[in-house]
């Protein structure tokens, strides 16, 4: 059950070449060893180990793997995780198999933040403040049913890093709308029928901004399109005491109707269109945003996903595509996404 660090020092230099095209990411081959990604290092903990039951191309599994391994390195492997009910919980623990190589507890759908507050309190009272606590859940468990507990955890500034893996709907129950579902998206409860198919405009909530309103020490958004950035943000968040929140955009091929091989591409287009801005905030103020190198129109992002197919069916819904473009353009301005 316990992850065994590989002792053989010859194995630490990994021959894998790690490239990401069309980003600022530099291949590990060109970097000094200390600058390489956590995943590129053979000493990575594989905290969410292989063999789990996630779908092909699952963005959440990828995001969680990078996030938790980075957290493990940042905490010298002194880590405990609390998981909300959802895809990540279900696919990682088909007992008697478990993918988790860390102490891990699942309690309920809506209480991960509060359970994590309890774990952190126990560690404090036991004099084990070196043990760092992560709570994690999907967008449903975070922005909807777990929102009360999350806000309570933020407000008390409890010493927990909460990670939301946002795939923009309730995927585990069969793709129903959540408060993170974007406008026009087809879900099982926002069918692509009628005069305005898909999810309605003008609804939903932006939890990173709400987290910032609690003036907690650290809030960041991240994407599986930029895994080095994701690792960087988790690594930065880990040593900070108090509440921290990282909201990771994770495409779901099943729910979005995108090709499993396109997960990174879709995630990148969300970032590069401006629909999913990457930024960091400290104590309620934005301190940094990732600049878009090549801004793309939202069509490029939307058209890869069957959940938006009705926008492109003849004669084409140019009006509502323009509304989505306006959201992207607003983000670009609001978060200063162009250099």
């Amino acid at each position: 059950m316990k992850a065994k660090p590989i002792q053989d020092s010859a194995m630490e230099m990994q021959p894998i070449k790690f490239y990401q095209t069309a980003t600022f990411t530099v291949g590990n081959r060109l970097l000094g060893e200390h600058e390489r990604s956590v995943q590129a290092n053979m000493r990575r903990t594989n905290s969410l180990n292989s063999g789990h039951r996630a779908c092909q191309g699952c963005g959440e599994a990828l995001g969680a793997r990078y996030a938790i391994d980075a957290a493990m390195r940042a905490s010298a492997s002194q880590l405990a995780a609390v998981n909300a009910t959802g895809c990540l919980e279900v696919f990682s623990t088909p007992y008697p198999e478990t993918s988790w190589q860390i102490p891990w507890i699942h309690s309920l759908f809506g209480n991960a933040a509060a359970v994590a507050s309890g774990v952190a309190a126990a560690m404090r009272v036991k004099g084990r403040e070196d043990v760092r606590v992560i709570a994690q859940g999907g967008d449903g468990g975070t922005t909807d049913i777990g929102f009360g507990c999350l806000s309570g955890m933020f407000e008390r500034n409890d010493d927990v890093l909460y990670i939301c893996y946002d795939n923009e709907a309730y995927m585990n129950t069969g793709v129903q709308r959540s408060s993170a579902t974007p406008p026009a998206a087809r879900t099982a409860t926002t069918a692509a029928v009628g005069s305005a198919p898909g999810n309605v405009f003008g609804t939903g909530k932006n939890v990173p901004l709400i987290a910032m309103a609690h003036r907690i020490p650290y809030v960041a958004t991240a994407s599986v399109a930029n895994l080095r950035d994701l690792e960087f943000k988790v690594t930065k968040a880990m040593p900070i005491r108090g509440s921290r929140y990282i909201h990771i955009h994770v495409p779901c091929p099943l729910g979005w109707g995108s090709a499993p091989a396109d997960t990174i591409k879709v995630a990148r287009l969300a970032v590069e269109s401006g629909l999913f801005p990457l930024f960091e905030a400290e104590h309620g103020e934005i301190v940094n945003s990732t600049k878009i190198r090549r801004k793309v129109p939202v069509d490029e992002y939307l058209s890869l996903q069957k959940r938006f197919a009705h926008l492109f069916a003849k004669p084409g819904d140019s009006t509502r595509i323009a509304l989505i473009q306006a959201i992207a353009d607003h983000n670009v301005k609001r978060f200063e996404l162009l250099a």
Binding site: T93, P94, A114, G118, A122, K126, R156
Partner: protein, 417 residues
């Protein structure tokens, strides 16, 4: 040490003596004075090495307790009424995970209509959640049961609810004997959790369990409660040896040896019942009573032993199983399987309706004559009910029931004599 103190404060002192490490709570009447007291003790440092967390809801209170207990801390919370319902999902979860959390219930009615006064509707709603449920008869027993509760919870790795009648006990000033810290420490060994979140031994807790194992896991929860049937009397006996007074146990009989009529009840109303038993005994009645302390696990054998020779049993219920009668009656009747006697369910004291000696006297006399209905509502205002039923029959859109009844009664303050 003898003290004249409020029931809630006595409970708070008992909790503090158990050296809890995490206390989390959300305020709800009539639980507030307990957690107020504990919060103050943590803040002054009188209760050292303890985290007191002000949470945003009862759901969060039980969830924080789950996390803290799973991480190996001795954990306590308290709630009542709507609060218990609001945390219901987590109440079941704590038991399912086998976490030895202790929780006080300041028993209070459940709305609608909203009502802050005492009855047992709240804890009864969670009777099958997998928690052990103990009911205190007096403030002294409330204090003592909390001391026993942690020991019981930690030995079985099972959460324990100590049910204390709201206001009647929680807000009543009474004489209590508060034990010394050394005595309590000797009674309770340090907490060694059965399971703990620990980076040196990483385990996964809370996996999905399918049809292949769910029955067995649930059976083991039942088995744990059956073990508690043996452990509760043992812990009560040991408590008596160490502290010099009887508290807790499965049930207590009062003048039942030769009784034809036996009254069964939970909690503080047993005091009033015993006074009426004494009065009626003095007049020649062969009547006795049984105070059930452990409602979950339900002591079927002990109840049968206590009641089996009576001619009739009157079960007093401070909660209503709507459409059936009472919850306590279910267990009592099951315990008497195969024994022929007259059984009566009496619903009494709902929403804080006083249960007076004169009403009980009349009730028990009627019982002795076997003139009770199967289910009786003690001191129900039948005129008021009849009037409301007639009013509702007059119009389809008759409006809300509770408000119509209150209008009919008029201002209560003017009726207090």
């Amino acid at each position: 040490m003898l003290k004249q103190t409020e029931g809630s404060h006595a409970v708070a002192e008992a909790i503090a003596l158990r050296r809890p490490e995490v206390i989390c709570a959300y305020p709800i009447t009539p639980q507030t004075h307990i957690v107020d007291g504990l919060g103050e003790m943590v803040k002054t440092g009188d209760l050292a090495n303890c985290e007191f967390i002000n949470v945003e809801s009862e759901f969060a209170a039980m969830s924080v307790a789950i996390g803290a207990s799973a991480a190996g801390a001795r954990t306590y919370t308290a709630t009542a009424s709507q609060g218990l319902l609001f945390m219901a999902e987590a109440v079941y979860n704590a038991a399912g995970l086998g976490l030895p959390i202790v929780m006080t219930i300041g028993n209070r009615a459940i709305g609608a209509p909203i009502n802050i006064w005492n009855d047992h509707s709240d804890s009864m709603s969670m009777r099958d959640a997998g928690w052990i449920q103990l009911y205190a008869e007096t403030n002294q027993e409330a204090l003592d049961l909390h001391i026993q509760a942690f020991r019981l919870a930690e030995e079985l790795s099972c959460p324990v609810m100590v049910c204390v009648d709201g206001f009647i006990l929680t807000h009543a000033y009474d004489r209590v004997d508060v034990p010394a810290q050394e005595q309590v420490d000797a009674y309770l060994p340090p907490f060694i959790p059965r399971q703990v979140l620990d980076p040196t031994q990483p385990i996964s807790i809370g996996a999905m369990v399918g049809p292949e194992a769910f029955m067995e896991v649930r059976y083991l929860a039942h088995h744990k409660q059956l073990r508690a049937l043996g452990l509760i009397p043992q812990l009560s006996d040991e408590f008596k040896r160490r502290f010099g007074r009887a508290s807790g146990g499965l049930l207590r009989t009062y003048r039942t040896e030769d009784a034809d009529t036996i009254v069964v009840a939970l909690g503080s109303v047993n005091g009033t019942i015993q006074e009426v038993v004494d009065e009626m005994r003095a007049q020649g009645s062969r009547i006795g009573s049984v105070s059930i302390c452990s409602f979950r696990p339900f002591p079927l054998d002990a109840t049968r032993e206590a009641l089996g020779r009576a001619k009739r049993v009157v079960v007093m219920e401070k909660s209503l199983a709507v459409g059936l009668g009472g919850h306590l009656s279910d267990g009592v009747r099951k315990s008497l399987s195969g024994i022929v006697l007259n059984g009566y369910t009496v619903i009494a004291g709902l929403g804080g309706r006083p249960i007076t000696r004169s009403s009980l006297r009349q009730l028990f006399r009627d019982a002795e004559q076997d003139e009770l209905e199967q289910v009786t509502f003690l001191d129900l205002n039948a005129d008021l009910v009849a009037h409301e039923l007639a009013r509702e029959a007059q119009a389809r859109a008759s409006g809300p029931t509770a408000e119509a009844i209150l209008r009919r009664i008029g201002t209560v303050a003017s009726q207090i004599t």
